[in-house]
Point group: C2
Chain length 323, copies 2
């Protein structure tokens, strides 16, 4: 059993993993060849500490965060490795091979990939039974969800271990039992992306109007109930079968252009860019990060006393961390 977590790849996602582990008292070693690693890491750690205070969590002894100069140095003696390299199968496989070569043979290696199947990543690494996907959601230091998905060679023990590791840092691991590209959440997100791009492409709505349609309406529902339970309530006492028999047929009405993705012409890209600038360009990214994190922390705290969905996770986190 190692004594630290290795973070391989420390962009926005990897750095936020480092912050989440460190804020739960776990020592972290980070490896990333980018010259901006120290800066990104410092910025994200700063954001995470700020979010921590917004959540009203007690101050705890932080784990150390050390940037090292090789994958080998990072993973030696690690009890968990979290890989967050660019979303390119060849790059990820090469990095995972190096990780597997140098870390203890029973150390779990988790990939943050949002789309690549674990079976496609584990073919050439030593002890492939300890490779698993652990796909988080940005900002990782605030959102509880992490999708856990094993490949053909992944052992049940690896799944159990990584679920425990994620729970220990107050996350909600969701075991994706069937290995599919993009897992669960990103499939839903891709569906929304496709439809949204058509709406902009066809001049129906701007990026701001689409965001407003989400955040003043069903986005508020989804922060706490999701799709099926929301419609179970809407359907009333007849139960979900009654509801879906009535409502289901309308889903095949030809409302959408889902069968296709609009071509990302330079014209469409520029339109998206201009609309996004008009919507949010008056704020820096740093300001928007603060707005996002302040809102997320406030929502989590609002749900905490209600013991529902993400609120329960925050309550468990507070209990875990309170001396």
């Amino acid at each position: 059993m190692g004594d630290h977590v290795a973070i391989i790849g420390a962009g926005v996602i990897g750095s936020a993993w480092a912050a989440r582990f460190a804020l739960h008292g776990v020592d972290v070693r980070v490896s990333d060849p980018s010259p901006s690693t120290e800066k990104v890491l410092a910025d994200v750690l700063g954001n995470a500490r700020w979010a921590w205070s917004e959540l009203g969590l007690p101050p705890v002894p932080e784990g150390s965060v050390t940037v090292v100069d090789s994958i080998e140095s990072a993973v030696q003696g690690a009890f968990h490795v979290q890989e967050s390299a660019p979303e390119n199968p060849e790059i990820k496989i090469a990095i995972l091979e190096t990780i597997a070569q140098f870390c203890p043979p029973d150390t779990v290696i988790a990939s943050s990939t949002s789309g690549i199947k674990p079976s496609d990543l584990q073919g050439s690494i030593t002890n492939p039974e300890r490779l698993v996907v652990g796909h988080p959601f940005n900002p990782v230091y605030l959102l509880p969800l992490v999708e856990v998905c094993g490949g053909a060679a992944t052992s049940a023990e690896t799944i159990a271990t990584v679920m425990d590791t994620y729970r220990s840092i107050s996350m909600k691991p969701l075991h994706v039992r069937v290995e599919i590209d993009a897992f669960i959440a990103d499939r839903l997100l891709e569906a929304v992306w496709r439809e949204s791009l058509w709406l902009v492409n066809d001049g129906v709505a701007t990026t701001e109007e689409i965001d407003d349609a989400i955040r003043y309406g069903f986005g508020l529902r989804w922060a706490q109930m999701g799709l099926f339970e929301t419609y179970r309530v809407a359907g009333g006492e007849g139960g979900f079968g009654h509801f879906i028999r009535q409502f289901g047929p309308t889903l095949s009405w030809p409302w959408t252009k889902l069968m296709d993705v609009p071509e990302l012409t330079e014209e469409l890209v520029e339109r998206l860019e201009q609309q996004s600038d008009a919507q949010s360009g008056q704020h820096s990214i740093r300001e928007l990060e603060r707005v996002r994190d302040r809102n997320l922390a406030a929502i989590l705290r609002a749900l905490e006393s209600h013991d529902w969905a993400a609120g329960a996770t925050l309550r468990e986190q507070r209990e875990r961390l309170t001396p």
Copy 2:
């Protein structure tokens, strides 16, 4: 100018419209042929009053809510008519014709339809320039969004008037400038529905797992920022064009089955029903309504002090209602 609002069709949506108007001090007359109208209305009014107190809004003199025995009685002398009949074009057109026949010629007639184009509704009514879609989101007494969409014959004055009416009851009217089936939000929702039904159909995930993937993850983001602004932040200082050039191509990866809708076989309906029962069957619909409304009110209050999206709407509501 009339002195009340007419609610035509008082199921869950129509009753919640009645509640939203009455709680803002507007007198309401309701017409619905169903024998359960009084009960549904009383239940929804009770829920809405409870949600009002959860929002911490000041008590205000409520408008009267009167059930009358005909469309004619409801709409005579009304300054706004809100039609929430079943989602069937023939039924809606017949009802809208009757409404238009008896209400003042310049009274705005708004349809709550979630999918039918206003041009397809206004063909045969008198003074079709005052017909418009005002599509709300359940629970109407809590969610601010209402999509406003005019048809070919709708006047600009009607759009302006109905937007003002909705603002006066503390809603966020979103003008859908291009007339398309299902407007904006329900297109996004349909995309998620289709993909979710495939995930259940193919045995990848249960209804509860899909809801968890939403409410512990991106659902929290969407309660406050929506899609484009969230990814603008994730993309960093390079701007949205930089982000979409990098990310966009992955959207055409063959991740989804969006091109199609799973056949709603009896087997799939039963599976959905059983999974939904396993997930939520221990709670009555009334309990789930309370959970939903308590959570929504808490989220809105959490955002209010932050002056972002739905929070700003609540703040304006409080200012409007505080003596």
